[in-house]
Symmetry: C2
C-alpha cells in the first residue's frame, strides 16, 4: 500500500482558474479487490478540457466533483495485479487522474489498455498516439474530410492536437497553415511540424488584421478549420472560409474563463454555406483503432515528432495546468511522476 499524493479540486474558479482552486492531499492506496490492478503513473496528461470541468455548469462532461482527485489521462506501469489480463510490468494507459497511483477495475471496458513501447515512447500515448492525436484525426478525417489540395487551418497549432493535425493534413496533400502564439512556436511549427506557414496571432490586435494575414497565408481561401480557441481567431477565420467549408469545433479555450466569447458574424455560416460541427472524441470510440494505427505509424517512422512540455512531480501539476491555459506550454503538456 504505497503512499499516494493526489491533487483535489478544492473550490471552483470565479473567473480565471488559480492555484488555490487545487489542494495536495496524501493518502494510501487501498488493498486490491479481485479484478483490480494498481498502476504507478509515469506521466499525467494536462489538457484544456479540464478547465471546462472545473465549472459547475452544464457541459458535455460531468463537472469535476469538489474534494476529489482531478480526472485526467495517465500512462504507467502495473505494479500489482489481481486481474489475469494484466501482469506486473505491463505498460498501460488509462484515466488515472492527478495522482501518483491509481487502483483500476481493469475489467471495465476501456478503463485500462496495454500499450507497446517498442517503437513508440510511453508518453506519446497521452499525446500523438492518444486522445489528442485521435482528436486531430477525427476532426480532420470525419468532419473536415479534406481533398488533396485543400487548405487546412488550425489554431493552437503547436499543441498536442495541432502537431498531429499537421502531420495528418500534410499526409493528405493539403496546404496546412497553423495559428500559434509567438515567433518561437511559429518557427517550430514550420521547421519541425511541417506546416506550410504559421501565423502569430499575438501580432494581431483585431480580427480584421488577423484575417489579412490569413489571406496571405491561404491564397486559395480556407476549406477546413480545426477550432481550438474561439474568439477573435474564429471571427477572422470565418471571413476567409471558402464556400462549403467545414469547421471542426474541438475547443474554445479563449472563452473558458468566465464570460462567453460571442461569434461576431454568424451569418457567414450561411453566406459561405459552412458546416460547423462540435465533437468530443471519446464519443466516437469506433474510430480509435484506425486513427491510432495511422498515428502510431507516423510516430514510429519519425514523421510525427511532437514536442513535450514536462513538469516534474505531482505538486507541479496545478501551475503547469494554469500555464497550459495561458499557452505557456510548448507542445504536449505532461507531468512526469517517476
Amino acid at each position: 500500500m504505497p503512499r499516494n499524493q493526489q491533487i483535489h479540486l478544492n473550490n471552483r474558479p470565479d473567473g480565471e482558474a488559480v492555484a488555490s482552486n487545487f489542494k495536495l492531499v496524501a493518502s494510501e492506496t487501498p488493498p486490491l479487490q479481485d479484478g483490480q490492478v494498481l498502476v504507478r503513473h509515469h506521466f499525467l496528461s494536462l489538457d484544456p478540457y479540464m478547465r471546462g470541468r472545473m465549472n459547475d455548469a452544464k457541459s458535455y462532461a460531468m463537472p469535476q466533483a469538489l474534494g476529489e482527485t482531478m480526472g485526467g489521462g495517465t500512462v504507467g506501469e502495473v505494479v500489482e495485479s489481481k486481474n489475469e489480463r494484466f501482469a506486473v510490468g505491463d505498460k498501460v494507459v488509462g484515466m488515472g487522474g492527478w495522482q501518483e497511483y491509481s487502483v483500476v477495475d481493469a475489467n471495465q471496458v476501456g478503463a485500462l489498455r496495454k500499450v507497446d513501447t517498442t517503437h513508440v515512447p510511453l508518453s506519446a500515448y497521452l499525446g500523438a498516439v492518444g486522445m489528442p492525436g485521435v482528436t486531430a484525426w477525427y476532426g480532420l478525417v470525419k468532419i473536415i474530410a479534406p481533398q488533396a489540395g485543400d487548405t487546412m487551418v488550425i489554431s493552437a497549432a503547436t499543441g498536442a492536437v495541432g502537431s498531429a493535425f499537421a502531420a495528418l493534413s500534410k499526409a493528405r496533400g493539403c496546404h496546412t497553415v497553423g495559428i500559434a502564439g509567438g515567433p518561437k512556436k511559429c518557427k517550430y511549427a514550420v521547421e519541425e511540424l511541417g506546416y506550410d506557414a504559421c501565423i502569430d496571432y499575438k501580432t494581431h490586435t483585431d480580427a480584421a488584421s488577423l484575417a489579412k494575414a490569413l489571406k496571405d497565408a491561404c491564397p486559395k481561401g480556407i476549406d477546413g478549420y480545426f477550432e481550438n480557441v474561439g474568439g477573435m481567431v474564429l471571427d477572422a477565420v470565418l471571413t476567409r472560409m471558402n464556400a462549403f467549408g467545414r469547421i471542426a469545433v474541438c475547443g474554445m479555450i479563449a472563452g473558458y474563463d468566465g464570460a462567453p466569447l460571442p461569434l461576431t458574424y454568424p451569418a457567414l455560416i450561411l453566406v459561405n454555406r459552412l458546416k460547423v460541427q462540435g465533437f468530443i472524441v471519446s464519443e466516437h470510440m469506433e474510430i480509435w483503432p484506425e486513427a491510432l494505427k495511422e498515428l502510431g505509424t507516423q510516430v514510429a517512422t519519425g514523421k510525427l515528432k511532437p514536442r513535450e512540455s514536462i513538469a516534474l512531480g505531482i505538486k507541479a501539476a496545478p501551475e503547469a495546468f494554469l500555464g497550459l491555459l495561458k499557452g505557456r506550454n510548448f507542445g504536449k503538456q505532461l507531468v512526469k511522476l517517476v
Copy 2:
C-alpha cells in the same frame, strides 16, 4: 410588344431598406429571338433573400445590379413563343423578376419550367411547391435528418418555408414547434399548419425568457432547428439543443439591416456537439424532383394548405417586400399581376 412595368433597384439601403431604394420604370418588351418565349407574369414571389442582394457585399448571390429589374421568382403564362418546347397558354415558373412580362431564353437549362395546375394552384409553385417548399425539405431531410419522435423547431414558422416545414416534419412523426410573431400567427400555426405548439417571440424580451418557453414547449429538448432569423431566437434555441442536434441555417433575417447580430455563446456548438450547416437550395438541384413530388402531393391532397399574403399590382411590390422584412405578411408573400 406589350407595355411592361418594372421595379428597378435605384440605390442601395443605408441600414434599413426603404421604398425609395426602388423605382418604377415603364418599357416595352423586345421582339422575340429564336428560342425565346414571352411570359406574362401572374404572380411575383417576394422572399427575404432579396434583402441580402440589395447590399453590395460579398454573399452567396451576386448583388442585385443598380438600375436593373429586381430579380425574383415568377409564375405565369406563355403569351408568345419562338421555342418549340413551349406553346402559348403553357403555365410556367421561372425567375422573371419584379415586372409584368419577361422574355426568357427557354433553351437555357432551368430557366423556365412548365407546371401542371390541375391539382396545384399556380401560385403554389412559388411557395409550398417551389423554392420555399424545397428549402424546407432540404433543411429538414438532408441536414437535420430527423428520426420519428425527435423534436423540431423552426423560426418564421408561418411563412412559406415554415408552412411546408411543419407538414414535412409532422409527416415524419416529429414533435414540431414553431416560433412566430404575434398571437394570430401562433394560433394559425397550431390550428391550420399542424404545429404541436407555437411560441410568440414578441412576448419575450430576452433569450433567457424565450429559452424558458422553449423548455415548456419542447420537454425532451430540441433535436433539429431550422434557422430563419438569427439573433435572440438562435441564442435561446442553442441553450435547449440536445446532444448531437442539427441546425439548418437558411436565413438570418434579423441581421439583414446593417450591423451583424452576434451569436452570444458559440461554445454551445461544442458543449452540445451540434452540427450547424448553412445551405442555399438552388445549389442542390439534384434533390428538387424528389422534394417537389412530396410537396406537390401534400398540397394536392390538402395536407398542406399554406396561406398567402397577396399584394395587387407591380407598384405594390416594394411596400409588400418591406412589410415582409418586418414580418407583416401572413404566409407566403406574393404580388398578383393579372
